[in-house]
């Protein structure tokens, strides 16, 4: 036996890429057959990596297959102890129409979520009506059940009860703190640069840490390593340019994208309501195949947003909101010799500057900077796969808050986050996958980790799939929003109060790391080859949350009060696709409740804690997405419904003076005051909207010209976006807007 094992010490590993572009291919089936006819198989990782270990010397037949590509076959001779690097380039299969149809189905997935995970491909994104030709990831995200957006303005996403600051958004492994643009159709992720996005609405594995709610893990394309291509597009909303091509043919490529909003100059000219928004994003990426067993990529992202939610021109300057993301990072992936897997080193720097008010003297300012170093090793296997890693993040957060009705509040904190994780995948028989993981998350440089065990289970048989996930999560960073607004776009990033601070003994919030427990269970049934039904239920228990203090002083504050919360609900969806027609229907029910623990609650309400619905608790949400191709035109329609958000109503406004001595009351400092009803007992009107788009591609030689017409908010619903309870200022979301877009691609 030992001698047999000893003899099985050869291995094969390599990358699988697309022959035409050099793009890495994920989920390619690789089969290896030895001379006895015994077959082992694996699939490639997101980087196209495959590996077979413990092979005996001898002759093998290797086969690589993937929908839409010609099957690759070859014969190999392995020597005793040999570590063979064998890279495969798959050639696109353009020979038969039938196979092209299959490819379209595979790319535009009707895939149901698996234990909270939904994978999104560019073709999915393109199905959603948007105001211009190129799609954007956020447009698709907002069609998913369980993801609640503040609408077409604001740039905030709430995922299954989680707040925006509890979502981790990654671009090629780099954190992007506020990736969604102020106009809700756009994010830092245009579909042109996206390879895929994994959206974990909960129950994510040990690889990810430092967030309570969800992970959006976006991977960009690598750029064409063999030929130049590019596109330019323009619409009343946006102008965009995208370019890619080889720097060293076959080895080094680049991908670049730049977008600039044109709202003021174009759309604003024919819309009655002002559109005082401006945003831009710039993305650039360079990929290099350093050797046959290693790859290096460097990515850079910069986004800017500026706009005001106020209709009042006099106060617009003070309400001007700006934010800017800067992210840069490198990723080095290599297959070390005599090591049964791949190793990945990532180094990145992320920064977000967020402010409101006059640029030279902002009323509120929040700044967060984060350096991230991560080392990760992956060990693929037929029965057991594993990955392990360590990441280290020094973070600095700074907030300065001021306003008409408040004192200056300044806070700066330097945090050290680091974590280790081990994640495994066991394949038990043909139908069951078990993915246990453990993460040790540290929030200080000392040995006091928060242990985070997690597990995901996937059982598939025939047309049925059952998946489940559970786990524990912690988060130190806080994102605070202004309680007075029914919706708002300014987030103050800060940290939990330090337990080392002098006032910690009397501060009940000190040292309480936010934590969450997730549990989810899903079922997917493939009714037919065209129709899928899925349902997923979830429960999140949230502890040590921090919310802004409640005060009747009309002010924004980072003074915190502790809270706990739960979020529970279900997402259900029906996906139908046949030939050139598709229809996605989904409905989500969600109930999120918080319980505040502020010390004064007993005095104010006669209760030690106070149950309330947080302002993002949208109970019902439904989406209908229908589209198809008719006479060469791509048509799509999307109708969205969301029940109203809770908000705190005011009874009225008066003044306050503290009478605590025998004084001349004329000399007392006074403040205006809000007389609130019980917190968050009001509900805003429901949200619903219909968007339509019509698109056609004209081809002339190597040039594709796409013309798109769209109609947003087709029946001109007055959906409320912003309500300032203090000033009664109401800002609605976009009215009916027609738009024509043009895209030229080479």
């Amino acid at each position: 036996m030992n001698s047999q094992l000893f003899a099985q010490n050869a291995s094969i590993r390599g990358f699988v890429t697309e022959q035409a572009t050099g793009q890495s291919l994920e989920l390619v089936n690789i089969l290896l057959e030895d001379s006895n006819g015994e077959v082992v198989g694996t699939v490639t990782s997101p980087d196209g990596v495959f590996q077979f270990r413990r092979l005996a010397q001898g002759q093998y037949r290797i086969q690589a297959s993937f929908i839409g590509y010609q099957v690759f076959r070859d014969t190999l001779q392995l020597e005793w102890g040999q570590v063979l690097t064998y890279n495969i380039a798959l050639e696109e299969d353009t020979g038969e129409l039938g196979e092209l149809v299959v490819e379209a189905q595979a790319e535009a997935s009707v895939a149901a979520p698996i234990a909270g995970l939904q994978t999104i491909r560019p073709a999915d994104i393109e199905r959603v009506p948007t105001p211009d030709v190129s799609g954007d990831l956020v447009s698709y995200l907002t069609t998913l059940p369980g993801i609640v957006s503040t609408g077409d303005q604001g740039g905030q996403l709430f995922i299954r009860g989680g707040e925006p600051s509890q979502n981790m958004v990654l671009l090629d492994g780099m954190v992007v703190y506020q990736p969604f643009h102020i106009l809700g159709f756009y994010s830092a992720f245009p579909s042109d640069i996206v390879n895929k996005a994994d959206v974990y609405a909960g129950g994510f594995g040990g690889k990810f840490g430092g967030r309570l709610s969800s992970v959006i893990d976006v991977r960009t394309r690598e750029g064409n390593a063999f030929a130049f291509s590019g596109s330019a597009s323009v619409s009343p909303f946006l102008g965009a340019v995208q370019l890619e091509g080889p720097l060293i043919p076959g080895r080094m490529s680049f991908l670049a994208s730049a977008r600039q909003s044109l709202l003021d100059d174009l759309a604003g000219q024919y819309v009655d309501d002002p559109l005082p928004f401006e945003f831009s994003d710039l993305f650039a990426k360079i990929n290099l195949d350093v050797t046959r067993t290693s790859k290096l990529s460097v990515s850079y992202l910069q986004t800017t947003d500026e706009g005001t939610l106020s209709k009042d021109e006099i106060v617009q300057e003070n309400d001007l909101v700006r934010w800017e993301n800067r992210v840069i990072g490198g990723r080095f992936l290599f297959l070390p010799p005599n090591f049964g897997g791949s190793v990945e080193l990532r180094v990145s720097y992320s920064e977000l500057n967020n402010e409101i008010g006059v640029a030279s003297n902002p009323l509120r300012l929040s700044n967060i900077k984060n350096t991230h170093v991560a080392l990760e090793a992956n060990f693929p296997g037929q029965t057991l796969s594993a990955s392990a890693g360590i990441d280290f993040r020094p973070i600095t957060v700074r907030t300065i808050l001021d306003g008409l009705y408040q004192n200056v509040n300044f806070r700066i904190a330097r945090l050290i986050n680091w974590g280790n994780y081990l994640e495994m995948t066991y394949r038990v028989g043909d139908h069951l996958r078990i993915q246990p993981s453990i993460r040790a998350q540290f929030y200080k440089v000392r040995f006091n980790p928060y242990l985070e065990p997690r597990i995901r289970l996937i059982w598939e048989r025939g047309r049925h799939r059952v998946s489940a996930g559970t786990g524990i999560y912690h988060q130190e960073l806080l994102g605070l929003n202004d309680r007075r607004d029914a919706a708002n776009v300014f987030t103050a990033w800060t940290s939990i109060p330090s337990e080392d601070a002098p006032a910690a003994e009397t501060d009940i919030t000190a040292g309480r790391i936010q934590d969450a427990f997730h549990a989810l269970l899903g079922y997917n049934f493939e009714v037919s080859s065209n129709l899928q039904f899925s349902i997923e239920t979830y429960y999140k228990d949230l502890s040590n949350l921090f919310i802004s203090e409640w005060t009747s002083f009309p002010r924004f504050t980072t003074i915190l009060q502790p809270a706990t919360g739960t979020s529970a609900g279900f997402d259900t969806r029906l996906d139908y696709q046949r030939d050139n027609f598709y229809m996605h229907l989904n409905y989500a029910y969600s109930a999120t409740n918080y319980e505040a623990e502020q010390a004064s609650l007993e005095i104010w309400y006669g209760e030690e804690t106070l149950d309330f619905r947080p302002p993002h608790d949208r109970r019902h949400q439904a989406n209908v997405l229908i589209g198809g191709t008719v006479a060469g035109f791509d048509l799509s329609a999307r109708w969205t419904f969301g029940s109203g958000f809770p908000y705190s109503r005011a009874v009225g406004f008066d003044g306050f003076a503290l009478i605590d001595d025998i004084v001349d009351v004329g000399r007392l400092p006074t403040s205006r005051r809000v007389i609130y009803e019980r917190p968050f007992s009001g509900e805003l009107p429901h949200y619903h909207r219909l968007d339509l788009s019509l698109e056609r591609v004209f081809t002339a030689g190597s040039v594709d010209v796409t013309v798109q017409g769209s109609l947003l908010n087709a029946y001109n619903r007055a959906n409320i976006f912003y309500l300032d309870v203090f000033t009664l200022q109401r800002v609605d979301q976009l009215p009916v807007i027609p738009s024509i877009g043009l895209k030229v691609a080479l």
Partner: protein, 294 residues
């Protein structure tokens, strides 16, 4: 056919359920005013701030407030109409302070009524506490160095009880220094049949003074602390002038309805006066507490 009708009906139901897009974020109230002020026999003019309860958060203008402010001394039925005055604030706000030139009488009850032209009215009844004094009792050396002080009579409430200690000490660098420190006596007083009894813990206060100064300055410890004076101060107050938890925390009290005695409105109108007395203690008591005796 029936199925189509049901589907269309359901769609219409969903659409109609979400048709209303209006929102009314301010509920409004019939309560017209919020009052903050006090009556005191130590003031020759009584003043109360009046805030109208409005449906919008806006700065008040310079125009007179639609309010008629009266006070009635329920003991002798003396009724007065108060005058409005406009107080500009540093932040641009304007406050309305109503005033009347008279001195509140000890142990009298006043009824304040504020009414607008629509007949909406708030009122508050406040009793000025009876006159009293500070009476130093014999020092209790058995259960510590306790200096008892009595506030005799039917006094409903006292707060802000504090002692200002005047003392001198020597610095190792700059010679003799005279200083003072005020120490709250919160939690050291209680109501008895004779009145309010304050039990000043002199030893504890000495330790507080010593540690406070020694932590901050290079004190000549061999010299010690020479107690020069001891001033007891307190507010004698109306019965309901008691914040929850005994602390005047603006972040707690700002919540409408907290420490409020105004009927059909919000706010608080109290009554009271200050009382203070220099306490002369025998040297033996000071020495026992830890102070230096020349």
């Amino acid at each position: 056919m029936n199925r189509k009708i049901i589907i269309i009906g359901l769609l219409l139901l969903i659409l109609s359920a979400g048709c209303d897009s209006d929102v009314d974020p301010v509920l409004g109230t019939d309560q017209p005013f919020t009052l903050f002020g006090l009556f005191s026999p130590q003031l020759d003019t009584q003043r109360v701030l009046v805030f109208p309860i409005e449906p919008e958060l806006q700065l008040l203008g310079n125009e007179a407030l639609d309010a008629r402010f009266t006070s009635t001394d329920l003991t002798n039925q003396d009724m007065r109409v108060w005058s409005d005055s406009i107080l500009p604030q540093p932040n641009g706000e304007v406050n309305h302070m109503f005033w009347s030139s008279f001195t509140a009488e000890f142990d009298h009850t006043y009824l304040v009524e504020v009414e607008d032209s629509d007949g909406r009215r708030v009122e508050v009844s406040v009793r000025v506490p009876p006159e009293t004094e500070i009476v130093l009792q014999d020092t209790d050396l058995i259960s510590g160095i306790i200096v008892p002080v009595l506030i005799p009579g039917d006094v409903p409430n006292i707060f802000k009880v504090e002692v200002r200690y005047g003392f001198d000490y020597r610095l190792t660098t700059a010679g003799q220094k005279i200083d003072n420190l005020t120490i709250s006596q919160e939690g050291r007083f209680q109501k008895t049949e004779e009145g309010w009894l304050i039990r000043i813990n002199l030893r504890s206060d000495f330790v507080t003074i010593r540690d406070f100064i020694q932590d901050r300055l290079p004190v000549d410890r061999s010299y010690g602390f020479d107690l020069q004076g001891m001033l007891l101060r307190l507010v004698v107050a109306s019965a309901d002038w008691q914040p929850p938890g005994g602390v005047f925390d603006p972040d707690v009290l700002v919540q409408p309805g907290t420490l409020s005695n105004v009927e059909n409105g919000f706010g608080f109108v109290g009554a009271g006066y200050r009382l203070q007395e220099n306490l002369a203690l025998p040297d033996s008591v000071k020495r026992e507490a830890g102070f230096r005796i020349r």
